[in-house]
């Protein structure tokens, strides 16, 4: 099938086909990321750098 696919396609159409294929996948990925997001799914993970603990003072550390 792929032989027919390529044989029946104009040479200049190949990069256009590849471009549309890429754009299609890109749009699908972008829609998946930005539209179908479930709120709260990753909020805790996203905040991890901000919740890695507050440094204790020397007085607090010393027994």
């Amino acid at each position: 099938m792929f032989k027919q696919f390529f044989a029946n396609m104009e040479f200049t159409a190949l990069p256009i086909f590849a471009l549309w294929l890429f754009i299609g996948l890109f749009v699908v990925a972008a829609v998946r990321v930005f539209v179908f997001k479930t709120r709260g799914d990753f909020e805790a993970q996203a905040a991890m750098p901000l919740t890695d603990g507050t440094a204790l003072s020397e007085r607090e550390v010393k027994p």
Binding site: M1, V33, F34, Q45, A47, P49, G53
Partner: protein
């Protein structure tokens, strides 16, 4: 679910050590870079000394910046953020120390060996085999310490930064080990196990992915941790970071062949390299936008906070470099830009802009926290920022102009089909002003770096270094969570749906009817839909997503990452290495180098001639007119290692053999400007005094025989005598012009090699040498 409070004391001393080393070696790397930039504008600065010659210092510069400056900076960022993200101290202080001191020892070894000419000649992998082994050992130490820490962690979730660190550790190990396959001749000399096309592909698979997985992925991890910290905002889209990570690690590994466009590499591999490079635009910019959009609502802080200034500019330069890289990978653009300074401008946009500015942002953020004292001067940090930014702009713009200018001059043709600029030196003289502007840009950048050193020293000196102690909340796994095992990862529906979709897509290539093809397309859609519906039902029932399962399992995550990076590497490299047809042989026309030529080749690699001269004529009219017939894959089958080069500061040398008499080469090597006025090549006068080790010739040929080069035992036994005989013809030829050199001088060996280049057969070097160029005023 149960929780407990645990007190953790982080190892910040190791962070301070790596930070100090990065700054120290960064200054050295930048200084050497400035010196070699000046050498290109004013060749007298080579001083006629082997150890300070451009071709030996350039690898020192690249290694110092990549592995010493960025490497140490990366380790500082990794050690700091990993402990905090995993809420645990590094697993073993001894391993951390071993990692630090081992890495510094490797850097010192590089700093000693590279100026001495001890090199494999493979770009960014020049270090010889004992150092390569040391790198592998120290990298394993780092990996053990890192994965051990993962095993001991108090935080179940692995934040996105940790994924990037995992990808870095795994991939760099694979790249380094494969690209370093070599047979040792002596403790300080080895030959690549691969030859010609295979060696080129493996090298640029490594070279490109050294940029990807040493200069990019760990810094992205650092970006994902430190940018939200500095902005006091969570990352813009965590979901985007997931797509960013997997798309980047999967695609990056395929892009290596874009360094070999229009070379003798099979066309399919070149096209794949170009295609994946273009696709890389998407994840790269996804990451960049994720970084910049993290600052939404906090852009006012950028005006006040130097750390954010550096991070924002660094991420922006990342965006610029990752736009330019795919652009340069388009074959028609590469035809113009490859071998020119455009590439140099591109890589420095990445190195100075992305890596350098991110490093500065990191250090300005770390110093006050590691020494518990505010940054000494924000004004000085601002001054550093502007000096660095203006320096980078001057550097990049001058190199863009230089590269495009030279690329156009190389290809310019008169109406009658001849070259407008037949002399290579003409094109070099035209870009000299740009070399001076580049040196000015580099000076500004280095000045800014010195300001940073002063500022950080003023912050740290007299302050008390601290090791942060925190109380962290540790959440214990529930019984259900504990029950999730490797089986759940393997049995994950997304995994099987993906495999099914890929399998159905592959079937498309084997069916030959339209109905069947449409049926397969529908099958893919059905599989996707079913996957979506099942996932929706499972999530509604409160089940964990498959990704939610693997992102808590470092081993599963590491294995999947390894699979993602291996697919591209295996798909590209195995066919080229294993399939004989990849390199068509032309039978008896291919003769291995003679013993003397091999000795000369070793001098060529030692001096780093490949740094400025390519040995790869591309199939283009202008290249044919300037250099001769296009290079073919079969011409390099005995080249261990390949010497195709990546930059033409001087002309291509693949068909230099026989173009000039030996006297021209002698004169040119002794004083390049006497034969080529305007050339910026250093003189290599020491080659006349230096001697080859004639007794090593049989050993070298025997080693090559082991690598598959068809030397007979008679060739090996007679190697010593044969080199003397061949050298005698060159010595006699030079003597006719009153030049006296010893038969075993490095000069004679190098001339023998140069005269052989581009010829299928070994040549007699006396009477039949074409007199196509005068000794002085050579054309190229």
């Amino acid at each position: 679910m149960t929780t407990r409070i645990e007190r953790v004391s982080y190892d910040d001393a190791i962070v301070r050590k790596f930070m100090f080393a990065s700054i120290l070696f960064g200054a050295v790397g930048l200084l050497v870079g400035l010196v070699i930039a000046c050498q290109l504008a004013w060749p007298a600065l080579n001083f006629g000394i082997p150890y300070t010659t451009f071709s030996r210092l350039r690898p020192l510069h690249t290694n110092a910046v990549i592995f010493a400056f960025v490497g140490n900076m990366m380790f500082a960022g990794v050690y700091y953020s990993t402990q905090r993200l995993l809420k645990v101290r590094m697993a073993h202080d001894g391993l951390s120390a071993l990692h630090f001191w081992g890495w510094q020892l490797i850097i010192v070894a590089a700093a000693i060996t590279l100026p001495l000419g001890i090199t494999t000649s493979k770009e960014y992998a020049e270090l010889e085999w004992p150092i390569d082994i040391a790198i592998a050992v120290i990298w394993v130490v780092f990996a053990i310490n890192f994965f051990w820490t993962l095993a001991k962690r108090n935080e179940k979730h692995l934040y996105v930064a940790i994924w990037f660190y995992i990808a870095t550790i795994v991939t760099v190990a694979v790249l380094h080990i494969v690209n370093s396959f070599a047979l040792p001749l002596s403790p300080l000399k080895s030959y690549s196990a691969f030859a010609g096309v295979q060696d080129a592909l493996v090298q640029w698979w490594y070279g490109h992915n050294a940029v990807a997985f040493f200069l990019t992925t760990p810094i992205l991890g650092i970006m994902y941790y430190f940018l939200p910290k500095a902005a006091e905002r969570p990352v813009y889209s965590y979901r985007l970071s997931i797509v960013h990570f997997w798309a980047l690690v999967f695609m990056y590994i395929w892009a290596g062949p874009h360094h070999l466009l229009y070379t003798a590499l099979p066309d399919w591999a070149q096209s794949i390299g170009m295609l994946f490079s273009l696709m890389l635009w998407a994840p790269s910019w996804g990451g960049m936008l994720n970084g910049l959009l993290t600052l939404r609502g906090a852009w006012n802080k950028v005006r006040e906070e130097p750390v954010l200034k550096f991070f924002v500019a660094g991420v922006t330069f990342y965006g610029m470099a990752t736009f330019e890289g795919p652009l340069l990978s388009i074959k028609s653009v590469s035809a113009l830009g490859h071998y020119t300074d455009w590439i140099i401008g591109h890589v420095h946009g990445g190195a100075l802009g992305w890596n350098g500015l991110m490093a500065a942002g990191l250090f300005y953020w770390l110093a006050p926290r590691l020494w518990d004292r505010p940054l000494h001067s924000k004004k000085a940090a601002d001054a550093h920022f502007w000096l660095a930014t203006i320096g980078i702009v001057l550097y990049m713009v001058s190199m863009w102009i230089s590269g495009v200018n030279q690329g156009l001059m190389w290809r310019a043709q008169n109406p009658d089909g001849t070259l407008v600029y037949p002399s290579f030196v003409e094109t070099l003289i035209a870009i000299r002003p740009m070399y001076i502007v580049r040196a000015i840009g580099g000076t500004l950048y280095l000045t800014g770096f010195v300001v940073m050193i002063w500022n950080l020293l003023k912050t740290a000196v007299g302050a008390k270094p601290i090791n942060t102690t925190v109380d962290v909340t540790v959440t214990e796994d529930t019984a259900e969570e504990k029950a999730i095992g490797v089986g759940d990862v393997i049995a994950g529906r997304p995994l099987w749906f993906s495999v099914a979709a890929i399998a159905i897509t592959c079937l498309f290539f084997y069916v030959d009817s339209t109905i069947a093809a449409v049926g397969l397309a529908i099958a893919v859609l059905v599989v996707g839909e079913v996957a979506y519906l099942l996932n929706k039902r499972m999530r509604a029932a409160g089940g964990a997503s498959w990704f939610g399962i693997i992102e808590r399992r470092p081993m599963a995550f590491t294995v999947l990452t390894l699979v993602a990076i291996l697919i591209g590497g295996v798909a590209e490299i195995l066919p080229i290495v294993l399939v004989k047809q990849a390199v068509p042989a032309t039978g008896s026309a291919q003769k291995p180098y003679t013993a003397l030529e091999q000795q000369g080749r070793d001098v060529y690699t030692r001096e780093g001639c490949y740094v400025c001269h390519s040995q790869m004529i591309r199939p283009m009219v202008a290249e044919y007119l300037r250099y001769g017939e296009a290079s073919r894959a079969e011409e390099f089958i005995y080249d261990h290692p390949f010497q195709w080069g990546s930059k033409r500061t001087g002309p291509d040398l693949h068909r230099i053999g026989g173009k000039y008499p030996s006297l021209w080469h002698y004169t040119h090597l002794m004083d390049p400007r006497s034969t080529s006025p305007g050339s910026n090549m250093p003189s290599y006068g020491w080659l006349q005094e230096g001697t080859i080790d004639a007794k090593l010739a049989p050993k070298k040929l025997a080693l090559m025989q082991k690598l598959g080069v068809p030397y007979t035992n008679a060739d090996i036994d007679g190697a010593e005598d044969s080199q003397r005989k061949q050298a005698a013809t060159i010595v006699a030829d030079l003597a006719k012009n009153n030049v006296t050199v010893a038969w075993n001088s490095e000069m004679v060996a190098l001339i023998a090699y140069l005269q052989r280049l581009g010829r299928d057969q070994g040549i007699a070097l006396t009477d039949d040498a074409p007199k196509t160029a005068a000794v002085t005023g050579g054309e190229n």
